[in-house]
């Protein structure tokens, strides 16, 4: 196992710079996930770590050793590809044994390792089958088997679950995490699926347009997003963002969004008239039905909204509503009977409000 250090890493294709002086540290045995939308450079970064793409400038270090000019075959890494990249003409056994055959491992060791990997991955009965005779999930397991028999310094996963159906994806997610806990090998995992990132990672690295936007533990990123992009990218349904202007002074300052007044955290001070993005996650909006009692009470901290769509997911209900002409989503675990067009009250949990600068989009 090895630590991976990336410093000042840059990648250009002709005049186009796709990665901009990235710095990243992966401690030995950690599971880090590179997360970002398509085209953000996460796969390119992974392929550079693997040695499949050349480095324009900067360094890739494994345990302090510079790897830039080391060929992929000499880096002692294992990689699982999105479309499995199995050797179609070889049986499962031969696929897994391939790397060991190449470095002339003796047959007994090869058999032991293949059997060990196949028992971990539940592939015992498929060892003599060809990849085309296996289901997607089984193929993915073979690709993982091929990686683990190598006892690599670093595991690299390039969106390994994106070709699987939803149920299998959840199952394989657990298997990969379980495998990492058993083998404790340094792992770099690329995905665009934030649920995968949140559930599997020790550390999530969020990328956009060749830059690292934020890195940290999944909960750090969820609870304290650095900027608007991270805030909206992490979480499903994503964070509600309302464009507001600060009104009032000191403790009485509020955010005003198209005539709707939103409470601001008391301990913070804002200059009047400044533009802000007011962010609140759907689960931090408490939903209640609008009743005569509420009306008469004139509850100041509640916002009146109109239900557009109701999506029951089982454990919770997602309510999409319209608030002063803006779409807003709220989540409740209560079994509320809501109808489209119905008026509801939303009460934001002030301690979980995220505020971002109106111009720079950075967290305030």
């Amino acid at each position: 196992m090895a630590s991976v250090k990336i410093s000042n890493l840059q990648k250009r294709y002709g005049n186009i710079e796709v990665l901009h002086e990235l710095d990243l540290d992966v401690a030995d045995g950690r599971f880090i996930v590179l997360l970002g939308p398509s085209g953000c450079g996460k796969s390119t970064l992974l392929r550079m770590i693997a040695g499949l793409e050349s480095v324009t400038s900067g360094d890739i270090l494994f345990d302090g050793k510079r790897m830039n000019d080391v060929h992929a075959k000499d880096r002692n890494i294992a990689m699982v590809f999105q479309n499995y990249a199995l050797y179609a003409h070889m049986s499962v056994r031969k696929n897994m044994a391939f790397s060991m055959r190449l470095n002339k491992t003796d047959k007994k060791t090869i058999d032991e390792k293949v059997n060990w990997a196949s028992s971990i991955l539940g592939l015992d009965e498929y060892l003599d089958r060809l990849p085309k005779e296996l289901s997607g999930g089984q193929r993915q397991r073979v690709a993982m088997g091929r990686a683990i028999v190598r006892d690599p310094e670093v595991f690299l996963f390039d969106e390994p679950l994106s070709n699987l159906d939803a149920k299998l994806r959840v199952q394989m997610r657990t298997e990969i995490k379980d495998l990492h806990q058993r083998l404790n090998t340094t792992t770099v995992y690329v995905t665009h699926d934030q649920i995968e990132a949140m559930t599997m990672a020790d550390e999530v690295v969020i990328m956009r347009d060749g830059y690292i936007e934020q890195s940290g533990t999944p909960m750090e990123i969820y609870d304290h997003p650095n900027n608007l992009f991270v805030a909206q990218f992490i979480g499903s349904p994503s964070m509600n963002i309302l464009e507001c202007e600060v009104a009032g002074q000191g403790a009485s300052s509020v955010a005003v969004c198209k005539g709707v007044t939103l409470p601001l955290p008391l301990e913070r001070s804002f200059s009047t008239g400044s533009k802000i993005h007011y962010g609140i996650r759907p689960e931090h909006l408490q939903i209640s039905k609008k009743s005569a009692m509420h009306d008469s009470a004139g509850d100041q901290s509640s916002l009146s909204a109109t239900v557009r769509v109701v999506e029951p997911t089982g454990p919770e209900i997602h309510v999409y509503a319209s608030l002063a002409g803006q779409d807003i989503c709220a989540i409740t675990r209560e079994r509320l009977e809501l109808q489209p067009g119905e008026e509801i009250l939303l009460r934001p949990d002030i301690s979980h409000v995220h505020l971002f600068d109106g111009e720079t989009s950075n967290a305030l």
Binding site: G51, H71, A72, K73, M79, Y84, A85, Y87, H89, F98
Partner: protein, 296 residues
């Protein structure tokens, strides 16, 4: 306008017959009929003196089996086919591997590669005839200068080298065809297994033998089949360059059939020899298809 309902169904586009008719009729007229006619001819014994033909079904076939020249021709044909095929296959693959890149300028190289294919085989034969000429031919003179050959034994005039001389012309002309097939195959190979192999520790040569070759096996088999069948029909190079000589050192089956036909005018026997070529091709290619499990 004729309404669809007024035509019998087998004449409408819903039925396979109208679609199959044009190509089937071409095959019947230009493929099946000549073969059947040859077969019919082979059942006649021709008397060269009287120019009369008599129906004796086994006569030509018996003659064929006892004709040493036929067996020599079979041997020469097989030698020719195997050597030319191996050379074209190996060279074709090597050149295709060199051209299988997206680097600048290689598109032009790939296009230029196909140039020999547009030269008519008879012209290629003439061209090599000039290059082999012992007084001014560039190939002959180079070989003399390197002391690999002596001017007293001209390439096409010596039985031990004449067949090689013809094979070189064939290889020059038809290797680009192999390159095209191999390139199409190589360009269609998925990239990921090769990346996986390089991460698994495979060198370029190991990737070639463990991945490229097995993944290309069907395409290679098909290329061998197409070129192999074509090579069995070798006629033009032999006719132009050596006219089966010296002696019968380069006399292939089709060349022998030609000789029988044009020089002795024994049409029934010439047909029998031509049919023998067809039989050899059918047997060899059927075995090949069976062994390599080629599916069309």
């Amino acid at each position: 306008m004729i309404s669809r309902g007024s035509l019998p169904r087998w004449l409408t586009s819903e039925h396979p017959l109208p679609w199959l008719f044009p190509v089937t009729s071409l095959l019947v007229v230009f493929g099946l009929y000549p073969v059947l006619y040859s077969l019919w001819l082979s059942f006649y014994k021709r008397n060269p003196a009287t120019r009369k033909e008599k129906f004796l079904p086994s006569w030509n076939w018996n003659k064929l089996i006892s004709d040493d020249r036929v067996w020599d021709a079979v041997e020469i044909t097989l030698t020719y086919v195997v050597i030319a095929l191996v050379l074209q296959l190996v060279l074709g693959m090597l050149i295709a591997l060199l051209l299988d890149t997206d680097r600048k300028g290689f598109g032009v190289m790939r296009a230029l590669m196909t140039l020999p294919l547009v030269v008519p085989p008879a012209v290629t034969g003439m061209m090599f005839l000039l290059m082999y000429d012992s007084s001014f031919g560039v190939i002959s003179n180079s070989l003399y200068a390197l002391n690999l050959l002596s001017p007293s034994a001209p390439i096409l005039g010596t039985s031990s080298t004449a067949l090689w001389g013809v094979i070189v012309a064939d290889v020059w002309q038809w290797t680009p065809f192999m390159v095209l097939i191999m390139l199409a195959g190589l360009r269609a190979l998925p990239r990921e297994p090769f990346e996986a192999a390089s991460i698994d520790g495979a060198s370029g040569i190991q990737s070639f033998f463990y991945l490229t070759l097995p993944m290309m096996s069907k395409i290679i088999a098909l290329a061998i089949l197409i070129r192999g069948i074509d090579l069995f029909r070798i006629f033009d190079y032999v006719k132009v360059m050596t006219d089966s000589g010296p002696g019968t050192a380069t006399e292939t089956l089709t060349a022998y059939a030609g000789t029988v036909y044009f020089k002795t005018a024994n049409f029934p026997y010439a047909s029998t020899v031509a049919l023998a070529t067809l039989i050899v091709v059918l047997v060899v290619s059927s075995v090949f298809i069976k062994v390599f499990k080629i599916k069309f």
